[in-house]
């Protein structure tokens, strides 16, 4: 029995997996017909009962989110899919949309029916033109087949679906910034409450869900709640996509029940690249505190990762071997957060700027031990003091790397610079490395 369990990726090896014919060959859109025969509340109840939790990072139960939408309020409701995948290390939604966009479209129609939305949106990051083509074509074909538009499958339910390209702003992956961006403003997070369920897109009740969360919905409707609950762990039900990247023999996507460990995935992937050993890794993107080899057996589910001091996040497993300078890696991430800070909240806007200055000095060997304390003090004053979690993400790699690799920061000072050879960590290291 394999540790893996491909569901969303089960047919990605078929050349036409992204077409409506390819999707329907494997029972595509049958879940939709089933859902439309139930009442919207029954669909919400099923998703709630399944235990499906958000796959975009926060892990909030999807069915609960849907149930927060007020009903009978005579207002327009919206389902907005967050396809702004930009968290460093995260690379699951783009291959999913490239190979199987109809699973998302079908999930959107079911979700929109459940929350009584008649217009839904996919907010796709703009830097992936071919993914845009695939999703737009899938939408067009779904309209032509009568799965979108008026009176879907004779149910009386109407749904319009609009694909919207972002334009290069990490912050728009934050749900309220995404809504501002979709409304045609600079993408800056909103203060909550009110939450999107009460006042979201155009101040109307809105659900914002990650691509993978919504794409998982048809499988639950089609195969049943028990099928889904049989996978995963007690509080983290179902299957999910783990993305393995970095210094490994074979990087790639692994779809498995929640709770698999990095050790198990690494074994399947042929381990860390030959002749090297694991130094540090992220469980769910750069915003999740880093782990080391001592965490190889942490169950990769929401509770397992969080009780080990990090977050499951987007399940972006970025692997770095012993050739990698952790100070360089962290500096680059912090530069990213500084670049992507939207500028709305002072602690983030000014704080990330100062973090970069100190980290640069430390990497160049011009820092002191007092700077490490100053760095931690800054982190303490930045985290939790802004509208959104971007700044929390910025301090996560700093705090966690200082926890595990403080000596390496000091080594930069005593060495008068970085002791690592950057060539050794590349994939095309030369003979002299």
């Amino acid at each position: 029995m394999s540790l893996l369990n491909p569901v969303l990726s089960a047919h990605w090896d078929e050349a036409d997996s992204f077409t409506i014919a390819g999707y329907q060959r494997h029972d595509g859109y049958k879940a939709l017909a089933k859902a439309l025969k139930a009442t919207p509340d029954e669909v919400i109840a099923q998703i709630k009962e399944s235990g499906l939790r958000g796959r975009g990072g926060a892990g909030f139960p999807t069915g609960n989110k849907w149930s927060f939408i007020p009903q009978g309020d005579n207002k327009a409701h919206y389902l907005v899919v967050n396809a702004d995948e930009s968290e460093p290390g995260t690379c699951k939604d783009m291959p999913l949309l490239m190979a199987n966009p109809h699973s998302l479209i079908e999930g959107i129609i079911i979700g929109s029916y459940a929350i009584r939305a008649n217009h839904s949106f996919i907010y796709l990051r703009g830097e992936v033109v071919h993914v845009f083509r695939r999703v737009q074509k899938a939408i067009d074909d779904a309209y032509a087949a009568g799965f979108l538009g008026k009176n879907i499958l004779g149910s009386g339910f109407d749904l319009e679906l609009t694909l919207h390209a972002g334009a290069g702003a990490y912050i728009c992956g934050e749900e309220t910034a995404l809504l501002d961006s979709l409304e045609g403003f600079r993408g800056q997070p909103r203060l909550r409450p009110p939450f999107p369920a009460i006042a979201g897109l155009y101040a109307m009740p809105t659900v914002v869900n990650n691509v993978e969360s919504i794409a998982s919905v048809p499988s639950i409707i089609q195969n049943g709640v028990e099928w889904f609950q049989a996978m995963g762990t007690e509080k983290s039900k179902g299957y999910t996509l783990y993305s393995l990247s970095g210094h490994v023999t074979n990087p790639g996507q692994f779809e498995a029940p929640l709770g698999i460990t990095l050790r198990q995935i690494l074994e399947l992937a042929g381990g860390v690249r030959a002749g090297h050993e694991l130094k540090f890794w992220t469980p769910g993107g750069s915003s999740t505190p880093m782990f080391t080899a001592e965490h190889l057996d942490v169950p990769l589910d929401y509770e397992g990762v969080s009780s080990a001091g990090s977050m499951l996040g987007t399940k972006a497993l970025q692997i770095f071997d012993e050739t990698t300078c952790v100070v360089r890696a962290v500096l680059r991430w912090v530069e990213f957060y500084k670049h992507e800070s939207c500028g709305k909240c002072t602690p983030c806007r000014e704080g990330t700027w100062w973090l970069v200055q100190i980290m640069k000095d430390l990497e160049a060997g011009k820092g002191s031990e007092a700077d490490l304390e100053k760095l931690l003090d800054l982190c303490d004053n930045i985290a939790g003091r802004s509208f959104c979690a971007l700044a929390d993400g910025a301090v996560a790699p700093i705090i966690s790397s200082l926890k595990y690799f403080r000596a390496e920061y000091i080594l930069h000072q005593t060495n008068g610079g970085c002791p690592f050879d950057p060539v050794a960590s590349t994939l095309f290291e030369t003979a002299g490395a």
């Binding site: 394999s2 893996l4 491909p6 990726s9 990605w12 090896d13 078929e14 050349a15 036409d16 992204f18 995948e85 930009s86 968290e87 290390g89 995260t90 939604d93 291959p95 190979a99 217009h119 703009g126 830097e127 992936v128 033109v129 071919h130 083509r133 737009q136 067009d140 694909l163 919207h164 390209a165 972002g166 334009a167 290069g168 702003a169 961006s181 409304e183 045609g184 403003f185 993408g187 993305s243 990247s245 970095g246 990087p251 790639g252 996507q253 779809e255 750069s286 970025q318 770095f320 360089r328 890696a329 680059r332 990213f336 992507e340 950057p422 060539v423 960590s425 590349t426 994939l427 095309f428």
Partner: protein, 210 residues
Amino acid sequence: MSFTTEELAVMDTIIARYPKSRSAIMPLLHYVQSIDGYVTPRGIETIAEKLNLATAEVTAVSTFYTQYKSEPVGEYHVGICTNTLCAVMGGDAIYESVCDRLGIKKDQTTPDGKISLERIECNAACDYAPVVMVNWEFYDNQTPASVNELIDGVRAGNPPAPTRGPKELRTWKQNSAVLAGLSDGLAEEGVQAGAASLLGLNIAKAQGSK
């Protein structure tokens, strides 16, 4: 010079997609780039007029997002991922090598207007690191040598095809039109998935889970 009647009509179809017109600002900016190559003053003015906004409001939006360019970029816009993972695995070396090859640095364009260069953030293809994007098409698993070939191909008028994308690399303007929601009919070209995307599936099949 104003946009043609035909172009103005396309803008109206873009606006019609949304319950509120202001939401069309982003696809309209992509559309302006598909005609002018960057966000031109006339583009700002026309969008403002169409959406009943002040030009300052449109400018405020266009300057927030890095894909909207305030100056012309190359016909082929090259983005080298230098976020941590790609950088460590070779992105930094690729960036240096490309700068040498082209004689330009980030946010610059070659004098002939052919190629511009950008250091980009994570582009959601980490299992294909190091990643290079040209006009926002994927070039996976790159090395300094392969990117040199890519650039030489662009200069010679026959760039290699994207790894996961259409059969032929399209121009910056052509791809900007796609992002505005104007189909170029190429969705079915190219692979459905790259090798890394299929890794787990292939292992599961070999182990007989399905």
